[in-house]
Symmetry: C2
Subunit: 326 residues, 2 copies
């Protein structure tokens, strides 16, 4: 197993914090954030020393109708610029592009024409060749790139190894370990990090971590990964994200010792915006149905429906899940 | 560092699960549980295969007026028996006795006259000799015993080592690592477990873990401890406990692979009782003020007050805490 990198008192300058509140949080409220929310989050991230802010998806307007989603599903250049201008700050701008759901030839501009710095490609293991096509396109256009391999908890280990080797030979900068279903325990994260870090190191790539909170382990798994050498860390304000949500930004910034990080800016943002969001009926975060989909390693959609239906017959729900996923 | 014990697929027969819902949860609602709640929890614990159920404290009626607290602050023999009869089950009964707050000579009966199996003594490091007096009394009366050393995150390491050595030479069966303020990260739990386990092993004692959820790490720290060889694991239903609460029983039972454990019984209990408790205005669980007292390694009382006052000026609260605790 990998040795721990750094100590709890020092800091590692290779760490990069990525705020995914708009992107993963957008899955909760259909990307319908107020302009105020987005602007204040941008300012808070700058003040907090966050390294990247992900504005949302670069979704295809052929597939998804702009009438039906908020603008951060699409992240038009003009919409980002309305918030960040030319972004003369240390905060870099990121967008996510799903394999098969992005018109990347058209919608991802040359970097010199864009304020975006980082293009993150989300893929399943069976679409890795298509992901590499997108990654090479983005790299040629001048972007930093990451790849997020989703749902690895459902993939045979050999397939994952082969996929990681393929990606490591591409031009991608960072390969993300993603716990899509909140299914992994820290011991499993340790083993997977070992695999990702070994393959990445051979090709001079970095590794990232994107966790979900189905078992209240998003933060624990993120700091487990970082202590082993993972350097790109995804988090969202108050864990806002689909289902059980993500690693809390306020927990992560409290853990990191680099004096450039300042959680107070995030606390002020929470005070102004997050409670209001919850009062408006936007729901996310750990709850028993997500625990169940987590331990059964399955997509949270059935749990989201269970909560929407205001059911609380937990043991019946568990039986339904067992019928459907095992 | 200690090697991991067992795997994620097998189980360790030395593991014992201790339900502290009435005891730590009682700190939230002044020990005023309905008789139905207590009876159903007892039945749920039996069905779930939980090893010990802690009914509450053995508090001194000289110090605490029975008019001002629910009966589980005192755990009179007759009150426990009203729930469990002679307790002809595999579930053992536990009570907690605080050093300096228990008339143990009078209130802790001989075991042959009691349905209680386990007496747990809670102490600070500076009262360990007094704790040992209580532990020896309980052992002589025929009980299993544990000692919970509280607030160790504030204690110089040498004092802790000396205290552990003293306790290990007593007749106590189990020494608990307690993260009173939810201040420890898993890496710190690993180092502390190493210390506790090494000292305990020399004297043939077991080690237990009692975690708090200020940083969403109660479950993560509990399974970290167990994977290193800790065998007594405290949890409460839905994490009910003071402030940020405890390790969730439903998470812990989902993790354990011993077929004797059955989380369904706990889910049914939650469905019937926990939502109602929350609707009645009983509040516990992770929240930002607890995160702050956790990272500042301080008692949650100020955070409990902050929430009671319905404040949400988080960054001002943080400044107040810094003034008071650092």
């Amino acid at each position: 197993m990998s040795d721990r990198q750094g100590s709890l008192v020092s800091f590692r300058p290779d760490i990069k914090v990525v705020d995914c509140t708009l992107r993963d949080g957008g899955l909760v409220n259909n990307f319908e954030f107020s302009d105020d929310f987005v602007k204040d989050l941008y300012l808070a991230n700058i003040r907090a020393g966050v390294d990247y802010m992900e504005f949302g998806y670069k979704a295809s307007k052929e597939i998804f109708s702009p009438d039906k989603f908020g603008k951060w599903k699409f992240c038009d250049e003009k919409d980002i610029r309305k918030v960040v201008g030319d972004n003369k700050t240390d905060l870099k701008i990121s967008v996510m592009a799903d394999v098969g759901r992005t018109d990347f030839h058209k919608d991802i501009l040359n970097r010199k024409d864009s304020v975006i710095d980082l293009v993150r490609v989300a893929t399943y293991t069976n679409t890795i060749p298509a992901a590499i096509e997108m990654l090479e396109d983005a790299k040629k256009k001048g972007y930093e790139t990451t790849v997020n391999i989703m749902a690895v908890s459902k993939v045979p280990l050999d397939d994952l190894t082969d996929g990681l080797e393929l990606l490591a030979q591409s031009s991608v900068d960072v390969i993300y370990l993603v716990d899509s279903f909140g299914a992994f325990y820290p011991e499993q994260i340790e083993r997977l990090c070992d695999k990702y870090l070994n393959i990445a190191a051979k090709h001079n790539k970095k590794v990232g971590m994107h966790a979900h909170n189905n078992q209240q382990l998003a933060f624990a798994n993120t700091i487990e990964a970082l202590s082993l050498g993972v350097s790109y860390l995804d988090a969202t304000v108050s864990g806002m994200g689909r289902g059980a949500g993500n690693c809390y930004m306020e927990l992560l910034l409290s853990f990191l010792r680099n004096p450039k990080y300042n959680k107070i800016a995030i606390l002020n943002f929470i005070e102004k915006h997050i409670q209001k969001l919850k009062e408006d009926g936007i729901v996310w975060g750990f709850d028993i149905p997500y625990l169940m989909t987590g331990i059964l390693n399955s997509h949270p959609s059935s749990a989201i429906q269970f909560i929407k239906d205001k059911r609380n017959d937990y043991s019946m729900f568990y039986q339904e899940l067992m019928d459907n996923v095992l």
